[in-house]
Amino acid sequence: MYVPVKGGEAAIAESRKALARARRGDPAVPELTVAQIREQMRGAVDRVMTEGALYDRDLAALALKQAQGDVAEATFLLRAHRAMLRRMGHSEPLDLSAIRPDRHISATAKELPGGQILGATCDYTHRLLDFSLMGKAAPFPEAASGLDDMPPDFPRAKGEEGEDEPVDITRVPLRPPYGPSETLGHLVRGEEGFLTGLAYTRLRTAGAAHPYVEDLVAGEVEVSVALEDIGLTVSIGDIELTACRMVAPVLDGPRSHLSPGFGVAFGCNERKAVAMAAVDQALKSGLDSELVLAHADGVEAGGYVSHLKLPHYSDFQADLETIRRLAADD
């Protein structure tokens, strides 16, 4: 006997009220503003923009506020909002050699054109709770001078050639074979933890090559769009992004070479960019594309895993009956 989902309208309404109360927390504590989240929860905002596939700091901050800081839920909200937006077209390929870097490092080159710029990173901090932040107003740290003197241009290899039109993965269903642009599209929206875990399994697997961060850069870059009607390419603004070029040695006799991988994320998100680049490279070295591309999306994965909470009375009943029948045969 199948029992349909019957929540009851009144029960659902009460559940929503309970959620709103939980979101607000103690009313004696001032409510967070979206601007505070946008300015001071940058890591979360950037991650939600990247996996939500929408570059809008205010909306990402709003999503985080609404989702009580739950990044997966906020990503879901931003994706759902994105689905309502009209697709205008696509930009020209970003010129990553013209990025204005806040951070630029290489793990392979001692001397990087423009110098290694450490920028804002946790990498060289000790992960100790800073109790001074418990207080109200921390002094605003002054920036070191001199960064503006860095030459803005440095040579950088272009991305993969061979595809003129980027594949819009929201319009093209996933089916093999997977082209480079399609692969990168799925990876860039892919869940950060999943990609990090995958990259980690590759590092620990027998026979897998150890990849190297050849170039990691974070900064502002200009976005241009070609207006075909009037034959002009115009700048529509700047975005912040993080890009990583990885190389891994492929040892194969005379055909030995360095195999590239590329990762990118909105805002400042190195874990994502590096993990994505490692996975992109691993896909070229035999990692199962189907495994990665069909399972990397956090909204899809989170949705399907959470569906386990839905009523499953009929299939569970059928499984029970099968178990009883098989166990009785013994």
Binding site: A109, K110, E111, L118, D123, Y124, H126, R127, L128, F131, R204, T205, A206, G207, P249, L251, D252, G253, R255, S256
Partner: protein, 277 residues
């Protein structure tokens, strides 16, 4: 907030020291250890830091290098951590140091009996390059069943299957018994592990393994009787642009506009001494 000396609590440090004693008793054998959390990311030297933290006393002097250099960001960061949490003295001179924590190089300066060299290790088990199962790798170690490693070496020599051992993290045999990872040091550094007067301890925190070489342990890079180990020394006449040395391990510095490469010593201490002389 009060911190304990060298960050970790005394019970954790004692547990690590016990592991070190066991590791010294069975050279080259990977002893499971607790690897308490440190406020530095895994992969950045936690294993080495845990070992250093458990060994440090108030009178110790610590030297930390990464790729032979005292000045690379990770070396600076780790040294600052112990200055802050243990208040110990630090040095860039190997001969003044009681503990030398290193990443990806064996120190080029002479080591002596009172010293401890601590290595940061990402992949402690050389067999895991060949098998994915930890159970199978443990069985192979127990039986000293290293046939697959020698087979790979043989295939490399004969050029079949395109097999190659990398030029770093080249496995060594300890006292003729355990196959051991020297950590990702360049192949040529392997010879410096052998018959070393200092104690050498290898910490792999993420993998929860620790192993050690007591002083004067016999350490041989794997090879065949009739095909000796090749340390892979460069033959292009490269020299350091700072001190002019052609024998030390050199890192690629830059490619000049005329297409020539410039090289620089990886070991900054030895390079500076040569440049000053």
């Amino acid at each position: 907030m009060t911190e304990t000396f060298a960050y970790l609590d005394e019970d954790s440090k004692r547990a690590v020291r016990r592991t070190i004693l066991k590791a010294l008793a069975v050279p080259g054998y990977q002893v499971p250890f607790i690897a308490p959390e440190m406020p530095i990311a895994y992969g950045w030297g936690v294993g080495g830091m845990v070992v250093t933290a458990s060994l440090l006393g108030a009178d110790d002097r610590l030297k930390v290098t990464d790729h032979g250099s005292d000045e690379t960001v990770n070396a600076v960061n780790i040294r600052a951590f112990f200055t802050r949490t243990a208040g110990i003295g630090t040095t860039t001179r190997t001969r003044e140091a009681t503990i030398v924590q290193v990443r990806q190089r064996v120190p080029e300066a002479e080591l002596v009996e009172r010293q401890v060299v601590v290595y940061q290790v990402p992949r402690p088990d050389p067999l895991r390059a060949f098998v994915d199962s930890a159970v199978e790798a443990a069985r192979m170690h127990a039986h000293a069943d290293y046939g697959r490693v020698y087979t790979r070496l043989f295939e490399e020599k004969t050029g079949s299957h395109g097999a190659v051992q990398p030029g770093y993290d080249y496995p060594v045999l300890v006292q003729g018994r355990y196959l051991m990872s020297p950590s990702p040091v360049p192949k040529r550094d392997n010879v410096r592990l052998n018959d070393c007067p200092a104690i050498q301890i290898f910490g792999a925190a993420r993998e929860r393994r620790l192993y050690a070489l007591p002083p004067y342990t016999r350490v041989e890079s794997i090879a065949f009787e009739d095909v000796p180990f090749d340390p892979g020394l460069p033959e292009d006449g490269r020299r350091c642009v700072v001190c002019g040395c052609g024998e030390s391990h050199l890192d690629h510095l830059l490619l000049r506009d005329d297409g020539m490469s410039e090289w620089v010593c990886s070991d900054t201490e030895c390079c500076a001494e040569r440049a000053d002389a």
